[in-house]
Amino acid sequence: MSAIAGQDAIGGGTTARKRRRMPVSVLLAAIFAVLVVGLAIFGPLLAPHDPAAQSLQTGVIGPTSDHLLGTDHLGRDILSRVMAGARDAVIGPAIIAISATVISLVFGIIAGYRGGVVEAVVLRVGDLMYAVPAILVSIVVIGVLGGGYYLAVAVLVLLSVPADTRVVRAAVLSERHLPYIEAGQTLGLSRWRIMTVHILPNVMPTAVAIALLEFVYGLITLSSLSFLGLGAEAGSPEWGRMLADNRTLLAENPNAALAPALLIMATAAAVMLLGDWIYDRVSEESTTRD
């Protein structure tokens, strides 16, 4: 009986103080993320060699002063290739993250606020999607349609939307019956205005979380698909593709496979860390009481 349930308002104060400082891990993640984005934009310009330039004479070699990470079996510079490949590696996940989030926001808010047919359809399609092994379906669909990076991106967006919509809908449901929404209804605000001006900003923390999760999911899945030869075309320096192409070179120049593999992992981890932190910030900003 002497168990204490309430922790009073004390917890809030301490987290408020912690919030000001950015933890070192997040700082590192942020720096890394900026680097990857920088590579995605300027990578091909910064690369020391032409990433596609072959030199069969050179063949596979380990790290040298000219080729810091060595070369692959066609004599292409690994460093230049991972730098140039950043764009291919990041652009797909970014498209997936943005489109899945935007689409699920639209459906989720309508389903959560209006209910009715939209909600029923969204929920049933969602149920169906949960039963579908996403990666297998993508393999089959992409295989049948002939492959291609952007086809893979589109399939992944399609596969992500139902689950994301559910998450958004759940966030909307917890807002929907709060008095501020009812006050808006009492004022006679239009449904459109309530959904866009009142509900949307309050589900943004959820949207941010979805976007970052989808980015990581996209990065990993696209790399996997490329690895299987279904994503980026052969010869492209996309990281998953490089990993697949160079996995046979582990004995001669392990960097050729390890560099893209580590980059995939590190990017995913950095985005997750950063995302966690941003989510906390965004949701605290609007809910912390004084």
Binding site: M1, I4, I10, T186
Partner: protein
């Protein structure tokens, strides 16, 4: 407050000997040497005595009580001396402290629904607690013991033992929680807002029970409450806390006979009286500061009308006024007379206005609402009333009486199952069937202030945005629109608040913004659904006064509440709801002074009066 001279002699006075709990110079900080959350707390509780820690939210009362049994949340730093039954808890190791707590101290918390495990039956809860103290009980003995323990807390219905917590009413749950708390026969019971979540009538029963158990067992009770009247009626001595420190300590009768601290006087004045209508409802201006910000000055100085520059130079200690009365006010002697006069001024009943009723603004006829498909129960079961222009109408009832459902039907947030609602000639019982123009007109005539100030404003937008949005819905017939600044001014907020987000506002300020939002479109009727129930006493008065001014400027109030004192202050007519039906209606004064229905009489009797007789 009632006549202070009738208070019964406090039983604690006759007791002497070593105190059960003695706290000396207790301070709680966020880290060693950091800013204090509670400072210099001295507390003494003798066997068989009930003391109360009273204060508004943020005063540090729960924290202090927990510190007294070394149960503060992790991360906080506690200094000072805590003696329980003569032993210094701060010198014991964790194991020994736990043994003391387990055997000698029990806690009763606010919401029994969260203390009792929903998957465990009452009987099992009790037996578990009984056995955890090391007692060996056979099945039959345990069954007898459970029956005996439940009888002690007034539960004679044997089937309660076999029920789950969610099958019990709030009052019943709190009784079961009390039985569990008493299972280890504690010497000290800490009751943290034990009746705050209960209805008024249940509150009185539970408090009575608590007192009779306390007297029968000779147990010490440390009561934590925000309600002065509850504290006055149940305790032998009251400690009034403010922003992390005790500002006054006395017997209940002393507070009224010889008030010695401006804050306590303000607090007593801020409680709307139940028995009469007051001319001016005044809270205490300003708001409770964070304890850290006032650790080196009188915490109340910034809100005190007697403050002098010296009040902000050092924290005044708690000094004796008489041997049982102490105050932390530097000027307690000079201003004693003024404080008393101030207190008495609040006891002057105002003349009760009786404005003539004009045209009918709102007519509700045969309203029924059921949430079930099979209509097996009715949340609102046949309600008829009319609201005439110029008169404010109060609707009172306990939880489950259907008052919120009624409000939601009026606002079109729920659709009534049967019956009609007519607002200025338009039938609004089916909001969906109204055309655009009608809807716009109706929305402009009826607005609402909700109970919870924390969720009734969109946390993503600034106050100015919220008010501008409301102003944009104002119809041209309502006359020229006021500016955001004018709206804020009407509810007593400075214009600079327009730029702030709700997060940066206190509960009372948020509620004023909510009122301003409702006023933006100049409604005929303002529906107030428990507008002050979530606010601290010292700001309740401010908000009520704002609403009174609103009603004087031509907007009528439809005031829904459980609080009879509030309804007395705010309304001309009254409707009493019980289980979805109107049991009594009439002029507010008449209904409250001579209730004719037994339910109304019970409600009136359940309002805390602030003296010990209320519980006998």
């Amino acid at each position: 407050m009632t006549d202070p001279t009738t208070t019964a002699p406090a039983p604690g006075d006759q007791l002497s000997g070593a105190p059960l709990l003695a706290v000396h110079d207790l301070a709680i900080t966020r880290w060693p040497g950091g800013p204090p959350l509670v400072t210099g707390l001295d507390l003494e509780l003798r066997r068989g005595e009930t003391i109360a820690l009273v204060g508004e939210s943020g005063a540090g009362k729960s924290l202090s009580a927990r510190a007294a049994i070394k149960l503060v949340p992790a991360g906080l730093h506690v200094t000072g001396e805590v003696r329980f039954q003569g032993e210094d808890l701060n010198r014991m190791d964790e194991e020994a402290v736990r043994a003391v707590r387990g055997g000698g101290v029990a806690m009763l918390l606010q919401d029994p629904f969260t203390i009792l495990n929903p998957l465990i039956r009452t009987r099992t809860h009790l037996i578990e607690t009984l056995r955890s103290s090391g007692r060996r009980l056979s099945g039959a003995e345990a069954a007898d013991e459970v029956t005996r323990r439940l009888a002690e807390v007034g539960i004679t219905d044997a089937s309660v033992g076999d029920r789950y917590p969610f099958e019990l009413s709030g009052g019943m749950r709190q009784r079961v929680a009390l039985a569990c708390a008493l299972a280890k026969d504690p010497a000290l019971l800490i009751a943290d807002e034990p009746t705050t979540a209960l209805d008024a009538t249940t509150q009185r029963d539970v408090l009575r029970l608590l007192r009779s158990v306390q007297q029968a067992r000779g147990m010490g009770v440390l009561m934590i409450t925000h309600d002065l009247r509850v504290a006055f009626s149940i305790s032998d001595r009251v400690y009034v806390m403010y922003a992390g420190g005790v500002v006054e300590r006395a017997r209940p009768e002393d507070f009224l006979a010889a008030p010695a601290h401006p804050y306590t006087v303000g607090l007593i004045r801020a409680e709307p009286p139940t028995g009469y209508r007051r001319e001016q409802l005044d809270g205490i201006p300003g708001q409770v500061p964070a304890p850290e910000t006032v650790s080196h000055q009188c915490a109340f100085a910034d809100r005190c009308s007697w403050a002098t520059p010296e009040c902000t130079t050092a924290r005044p200690p708690l000094l004796a006024v008489t041997d049982v009365h102490a105050s932390a006010c530097r000027r307690r002697e000079e201003i004693a007379g003024e404080l008393l006069a101030d207190l008495h001024a609040a006891w002057e009943p105002a003349t009760v206005p009786d404005p003539p009723a004009g045209e009918t603004v709102l007519r509700v006829a045969g309203l029924r609402k059921s949430y079930q498909r099979d209509r097996s129960t009715w949340a609102v079961d046949g309600i008829d009333f009319t609201l005439g222009s110029g008169r404010n109408l109060g609707i009172v009832g306990e939880s489950g009486s259907g008052k919120t459902t009624l409000a939601r039907c009026l606002l079109g947030l729920e659709e009534p199952t049967e019956g009609s609602i007519e607002l200025l000639g338009t039938d609004v019982s089916r909001y969906r069937s109204l055309d655009r123009e009608q809807l716009r007109r109706v929305r402009g005539q009826l607005q609402c202030v909700f109970q919870d100030p924390y969720s009734s404003l969109n946390r993503s937008h600034s106050v100015g945005f919220i008010l501008r949005e409301a102003l944009s819905r104002r119809s041209p017939e309502a006359g020229p629109a006021p500016s955001v600044e004018e709206l804020l001014d009407r509810v007593g907020l400075a214009a600079r608040y327009a730029g702030r987000k709700p997060v940066a506002l206190s509960g009372g300020q948020r509620q004023r913004v909510a009122i301003a939002r409702a006023l933006a479109i100049a409604p005929k009727v303002l529906l107030c659904d428990e507008p002050v129930a979530a606010l601290d006493v010292s700001v309740q008065g401010q908000v009520l006064q704002v609403l009174r001014e609103v009603s004087e400027s031509g907007t009528q109030l439809l005031f829904i509440t459980h609080d009879l004192a509030v309804v007395r202050q705010m309304t001309d007519d009254l409707v009493v709801l019980e289980r979805g039906k109107i049991v009594e209606s009439g002029r507010t004064e008449a209904v409250l002074d001579q209730p004719s229905h037994p339910y109304t009489a019970r409600l009136v009797g359940a309002v805390p009066t602030g003296d010990a007789e209320w519980l006998s």
